[in-house]
């Protein structure tokens, strides 16, 4: 593990229990350790029920844990904070608001005046390629475009840590590849630290500096794979033999869990 001062996110020996309706206590996370260094892009991949989204929510400050420590930029997480922003799997856009109002949502909540937040939002809409859509409503946009709005909304609050919860899983395969490259482009111009949850192995390898593989019941970290592919990454990266090899390694680890007949029982 890296030195504490360099850590954007530091999760140490974190365990969490869920209590179900009948009072039964289930261990959701078992002594998990995870570090995301500053400026690093880290993905978590694992079967359903391994607690990867749970971990993201804990870092986001909207879900608690039972044992261990979760720190962001050296400070213990006690709730949501201005240095973090989340991009959601379901996009979570407000359907009655225009694109620009959606992008400014986080700023509005923080009391930024309208002209200023619109200014910031316009800049971000341009950078995600939606400069012409500020007055559109979310339902008029494709899934990929909606998630670009979701990304712009998260970036609008100028976070240092970006949390992405399976952001591209509801988007068609081709659009997803474009979004991946665009995300890397945007990220490379910032010093953002990213924690990215995904189900897609190629996505995890393509985007990340580190791929964290988790196992289920209870959720635990199985292995951390360092991705030594050079940056900037582009379409050629996907045909790189090292990319294929690393993706294969991730699959080898996951396949073992999925062939376990119990592996897809948990939610």
């Amino acid at each position: 593990m890296s030195g504490k001062a360099d850590a954007a996110i530091s999760i140490r020996s974190v365990s969490k229990y869920y209590v179900s309706g009948n009072g039964k206590k289930t261990k959701a996370l078992d002594s998990v350790d995870l570090t995301v260094n500053r400026g690093e892009f880290v993905s978590i991949i694992g079967p359903s029920g391994c607690g990867k989204t749970t971990m993201l929510k804990m870092v986001g400050g909207i879900l608690g844990w039972d044992h261990g420590e979760v720190e962001v930029l050296g400070k213990a997480v006690e709730g949501p904070g201005p240095e973090r922003a989340t991009v959601f799997q379901s996009f979570a856009l407000l359907p009655w608001m225009t694109v620009i109002d959606n992008v400014s949502f986080g700023l509005k909540v923080r009391g930024v005046a309208k002209p200023e937040r619109y200014n910031i939002a316009r800049g971000l809409l341009k950078s995600v390629g939606l400069g012409d859509f500020e007055h559109a409503y979310p339902r008029q946009l494709s899934g990929g475009m909606q998630q670009r709005v979701g990304l712009a909304r998260a970036l609008a609050v100028s976070p240092q840590v970006l949390l992405m919860d399976e952001p591209f899983s509801a988007i068609d395969a081709q659009t997803r590849l474009i979004l991946q490259t665009d995300l890397l482009d945007i990220w490379s111009k910032t010093d953002l630290s990213v924690l990215f949850i995904t189900h897609a192995m190629d996505e995890a390898v393509f985007l990340s500096d580190k791929v964290v593989i988790m196992g289920a019941r209870p959720g635990h970290v199985t292995e951390v794979i360092d991705v030594d592919l050079p940056r900037p990454r582009n379409e050629a990266t996907r045909r790189d033999s090292r990319f294929v090899e690393l993706t294969g390694r991730v699959w080898d680890r996951l396949r073992g869990m999925i062939t376990d007949p119990n592996a897809d029982v948990a939610a």
Partner: protein, 256 residues
Amino acid sequence: MTLSLGLGTRKYGPFLLSLVVLAAIWEIVGRTANILTLPPLSSVLVAFGKLWSSGAVTAPLFDSTMALLTGLAISLTLGSAIGIGMGMSRVIDVAIGPYVKAGLSAPLIAFVPVFLMIFGIGSETRIATVVAFSIFIVATNAATAMRTIDDRLLEMGRSFGASRWAIFRDIRLPAGAPYFVAGLRLGVARGVKGLINGEVLIAIIGLGGLVKKYGTVFSMDQLYAVILLIVLYASVAVGGVTLLSNLLVKDKANTA
């Protein structure tokens, strides 16, 4: 133009046809049967015209409308507050939910004599009746508005550090708007029923008072004319609210 006319015919044609048939039957039966309780439509329409031009209905109409609006305003504020409380707090829901459910299905007209005793034979009694008829449906819809919220939107709000108030104002209220609008529409429909029910029982005020007045003296032309007016009044009230809410909702949906 031709297209919209064609669509209009297809949409309203059957209704217009049934209306013409019904009017014709009414007129024929009214003329041939010659019974007191069913004057022909033509004489009802004449009475309607006279009522209208003589100004006999102007004051009651205005009077009733003011009472309706007052009652609805009370129902909307109080009912929404109760419903929002029920929708957001389990304790409040368990504590007062049963009364709201009971009020929704109870024959509230039974309470009008009680209101009469409390408020006397003035406008307050019919306002109370309007409130009694409409408040429960408003509350029920407000509660549904709070309960059907997409948890993922609330989570998004919290993740951006929105306060409870900001989440309520910027997410819960607008997300629940369609339910509030439905509550308003149903509330208006029930409120009109409450208004007329109350007025008939009070017997001396508003449109319901006219019903009582002409009914007791068997002035059937005028009685039917007033009933016709009340039916139109209710339709216009509900139609107006529907139109208004459609405009509000469509405005958002159709803006490019």
